[in-house]
């Protein structure tokens, strides 16, 4: 591949010394992309844009925020009432966190449905799970910053999870707190980490993209690109599609920010933190609810913590749990069915996490937790043994060509790896 010549001589001059334009042209312009991507492939770019929105609004919020237990709550109220456009910036940041998780969860389930975690994209997938973990840590610490009742008690309960570790648990918790309870040292370090972790996420996102561009995107039928006829250049086809998706997303996001900014939050967080009184029902932010349900489903402290972290750990090893060589659910009738069971199970866990831990809710949480692990640890490894997958098309272009020429189904060989 020869170096592209740019029309602008200044660009050429720079590119000769710092090949940044060649790089951008290669990765964002001519980058060959499967031609059959559907709208579920918009969520990656949406996640990236949301990350940028969070960083930009976060930096300006920090200019007005005070990380001290005596001033934090008031400084956020001042942002809401007195700082120019402060209410807007805070509502964007606050709702942005929720939208970030909505986008990333859809992005992840897209990967599950189309088998995007399979070879050769295992590292790409693992980096994604790592990003999810970092996002969770960041959002958790951000939620502590306004120092409301939910901030304080959320921080208390979550940091106390570490006390379940045998022998050293108590020392770890004291170390996390910098004292004997969640207090000013805790707030200070959470602010520091909340500030820096998003930039760590940016770093991992870059690695995620490097891994993506090694083999390119997966696609709805999950077979490899066979040649030029299966791809189209990223620009203008997917830049415009991503832009269209972004405008739909931005419309919904703006509607939330302007018309129901507190819908996804908890009213108790507008009560200043009180270390002496726990609110009657403490619930985490909605995006943590499925994990919270798993934590509470296990009647043992250490067990609950292990299962909760285990729920994410299974995602790390997913590429080795699902041994089927067929990626997309479109050709896996049984997997497709179980995929939807898993979606229902996760929604059920989210609902149960918000309910009080008593009576029927406890029983249902246990069943739903058991099913979650059953899906990953039992169903996925066994499925390839009993499932007869549907025949795969020869290539991405073939089904379209044969359909138009009215030929009958192409019986293709399974892809050989």
């Amino acid at each position: 591949m020869s170096k592209p010549k740019f029309k602008n001589p200044v660009v050429n001059w720079i590119d000769y010394r710092l090949p940044i334009f060649t790089f951008m042209n290669h990765e964002l312009n001519e980058y060959p992309t499967p031609k059959n991507l559907n709208y579920f492939w918009n969520f990656g770019s949406l996640a990236g844009i949301t990350l940028v929105i969070m960083i930009v609004t976060g930096i300006v919020l920090s200019m007005n925020y005070t990380a001290h237990i005596d001033y934090a709550f008031d400084s956020v109220e001042r942002i809401m009432r007195d700082v120019n456009h402060g209410w807007l910036l805070r509502y964007i940041h606050m709702n942005g966190a929720s939208f970030f998780f909505i986008v990333v969860y859809i992005h992840i389930f897209r990967g599950l449905y189309y088998g995007s975690y399979k070879a050769p994209r295992e590292i790409l997938w693992i980096l994604g799970v790592l990003i999810l973990l970092l996002m969770m840590a960041t959002a958790f610490m951000g939620y502590v910053l306004p120092w409301g009742q939910m901030s304080f008690w959320g921080a208390t309960v979550i940091t106390n999870l570490f006390s379940a570790i045998p022998l050293i648990g108590e020392s770890i918790v004291t170390w996390l707190w910098g004292g004997f309870s969640v207090d000013n040292p805790t707030l200070n370090r959470f602010f520091s980490l909340h500030f820096v972790l998003p930039f760590v996420i940016v770093g991992v996102v870059i690695l995620h993209l490097v891994a993506l561009h090694r083999f390119g995107s997966n696609n709805p039928i999950g077979i490899d690109v066979k040649g030029k006829q299966d791809t189209i250049p990223f620009h203008p086809y997917y830049t415009i599609k991503d832009l269209f998706g972004l405008s739909v997303f931005a419309t919904i996001f703006a509607a939330a920010v302007f018309f129901f900014p507190n819908f996804m939050g908890h009213p108790d967080n507008y009560i200043p933190a009180n270390p002496m009184v726990t609110p009657a029902h403490i619930v985490p932010e909605w995006y943590f609810l499925p994990f919270y349900a798993i934590l509470r489903a296990i009647p043992d402290k250490l067990g609950g913590v292990l299962f909760m972290f285990g729920a994410i750990m299974v995602l790390f090893v997913l590429p080795w749990l699902d041994k089927s060589s067929v990626r997309s659910s479109q050709f896996r009738p049984l997997y497709k069915l179980f995929f939807w069971f898993l979606v229902i199970d996760c929604i059920a866990l989210g609902y149960l996490g918000a309910m009080p831990a008593e009576g029927i809710y406890v029983v249902l949480s246990r069943l739903a937790t058991a099913y979650y692990f059953f899906h990953f640890l039992i169903i996925l490894p066994l499925l390839p043994k009993i499932e007869s997958t549907r025949p795969l098309p020869v290539s991405i272009s073939t089904p379209i060509i044969t359909a138009s020429s009215n030929a009958s189904t192409v019986m293709a060989m399974r892809e050989k790896k």
């Binding site: 008690w153 208390t156 309960v157 940091t159 106390n160 999870l161 006390s163 004291t174 170390w175 996390l176 707190w177 910098g178 004292g179 004997f180 309870s181 207090d183 040292p185 370090r189 270390p275 002496m276 009184v277 726990t278 009657a280 029902h281 403490i282 509470r296 009647p299 043992d300 402290k301 609950g304 831990a357 008593e358």
Partner: protein
């Protein structure tokens, strides 16, 4: 010097290499430790004063909550029935077996760190209208832990009894916590 590797040369190089790695690792670790240790409680946090509480006004059946090291401490003036029920409890049925005598200095007053040993919420049961749980002591609403009149865990996810802070009676009705 010859440019041939004698076994001696190889040994020397191995030694240099290994000692460089080891010293490098020691150096890195001794730099990392302060970075980690700065997160542990600072000297002023450790030096937090103790709290003195006068129990003169605390009638039988009443409870007060005081702050110590940023945490609530429960002090309850127990009734005769509560004391009896705490003492009569057989140890077999307990998750974290302790007799009531091991948990009090003066059986009238039970002094507890008011922090659920599950995940750190403050249990209910200090105010007269509070839910006190199935064993009449305290109840943690967060994930449903029930404590008895001695602050022992009886039901729910908490693994151990409510902690007893360090305290001493300065007089019959004056106690010092910490």
């Amino acid at each position: 010097m010859t440019n041939k590797n004698t076994p001696d040369d190889k040994n020397k190089r191995d030694f240099l290499q290994v000692s460089t790695y080891v010293l490098g690792a020691v150096g890195a670790a001794s730099f990392v430790w302060p970075l980690i240790n700065q997160m542990n409680p600072a000297a002023d946090t450790l030096a937090l004063a103790s709290t003195e509480v006068d129990l003169e006004q605390l009638e039988e059946g009443q409870a007060i909550t005081v702050t110590w090291r940023g945490k609530p401490v429960f002090i309850r003036h127990r009734t005769k029935e509560e004391i009896a029920s705490a003492k009569d409890q057989l140890l077999d049925g307990l998750r974290d077996p302790q007799t009531d005598d091991e948990r009090v200095q003066n059986e009238k007053y039970i002094v507890l760190v008011g922090v659920c040993t599950h995940l750190g919420c403050v249990p209910l049961g200090q105010k007269s209208g509070d839910v006190k749980g199935e064993y009449g002591g305290w109840f943690c609403p967060c994930h449903g832990s029930h404590y008895d009149h001695s602050g022992r865990i009886r039901k729910g996810p908490a693994p151990t009894n409510l902690e007893i802070p360090q305290y001493s009676f300065l007089s019959d009705t004056l106690i010092k916590i910490g």
